[in-house]
Amino acid sequence: MITACAVEDLPVGESVRIPGEPAIAVFNADGEFYAIDDTCSHQDASLSEGWLEGCFVECPLHAALFDLRTGMPTCLPAKKAVRTYPVLVEDGVIYVDTRAREAVA
């Protein structure tokens, strides 16, 4: 379990990047928090810098669209899913559960 940030530091429509191996991007999509791999499955781009629309994030480099709920890309050029991680909120702090990392292909 890693700490992302305080809830108040991640308003609706915003994202935060947690550095690490791999880096993780956490989003506030209309009040729901989602965590996915930060690096686009296509090429080197940080999804935390992407455009958030509903529960989809658009890669800032090539506009590949990822579903934050499943990590699946909806269009080219991305072909592979990014990993998703469970998010927990406790006492106003957002945590990401990275234990599931190995369980996802």
Partner: protein, 390 residues
Amino acid sequence: MRTVAVVGASLAGLRSVEELRNQGFAGRIVVIGEEVHAPYDRPPLSKAFLAGTLPAEELALSEEDFDAEWRLGVRADRVDPRAGEIHLSTGEVIGADGLVIATGGRPRTLAGTSALSGVHTLRTLDDAVALRADLQAGVRVVVVGAGWIGAEVASTCRSLGLEVTVVEAAFIPMERALGPVLGSLCAELHADHGVDLRLGVGVDSFSHNGSRVTGVLLRDGSHLPADVVVAGIGMEPSTDWLLGSGLPLDNGVLCDTGCVTSIPSVVAVGDVARYRTAEGNHVRHEHWTNASEQPVVAVRNLLAGTTVDSFRPSGYVWSDQYGVRLQVAGETSGVDEVAVIDGSPDDRKFVAEFRRAGLAVGVLAMNNAKLFGRMRRQLAQPPGVTIPAS
């Protein structure tokens, strides 16, 4: 429509096939591609692939075949659109009642170098493999042209520890596209990374040992010793196979606002398509995004049998060079004002807005993808947003 032939199997061709299926076309699709490779992504060819950090198998654009017949390593020699016949280099004739032209183009070459080894252009995977094989430790590289490709190749060569000189005929690189201030910044990037940048001077000729290039003689009389020369001096659309087809050709395949040619069953997409804008000019875009976006509209019009939708370019271009990411969208030429609205060029992290008559029409960002994403969505729409069809 029973059979659609897609000539050209790079991004624009692949996206056309994908769109045909997305938009419900259940008939036969035949894709004709001159290269033997299945569709692959070209932007990394000047960057990670050339640097050796991205293997060729990672370049594949799709794992699906979209239930199409892929004729790869085969050229379309000529087409008779009225008869619906495409004649292939194998002698085979494909009958099709719809045609997507996605043949892209060929890089311009440097005069007097056709017989010389060590002189490269870069467009295809095979080009990149050949160039990479020549980038051995200690070689001296001369890049002709300081546009996007030239800058990316120079940057990659520097990251490999090679000595690089870039020769550019203009006094400021990228000035036409980006204006003098940001063009000068591109020049600084070269200089910051130890590239010998020769501006405002053309290439006169090449020295060689009979078979291999040994140097570049410039018009100012200077001689640059070179083991490898890379030309990044633009491309020409591949339309030679369309001569005699009756399709209007002029620096590309001329088409209407919806990428439809003079024959409604023939559309053109990607680098080869010279379409009409809402303002009535014919333009071609030589960019990845264009090749990816145009097929959506072109295929819709092809399947409708008439122009029901017009193409609106996003004008999005990106470049990774010297460790910075440049992103550009909208219009950047013919503007009144370029204003830095966030960050500072000196820090190599900023966003600049291109304005015409006080309206933001274009945006350029260096190392600021987040703000760029926001800005490009706020760009002023060009006049006549509701573009009438055809």
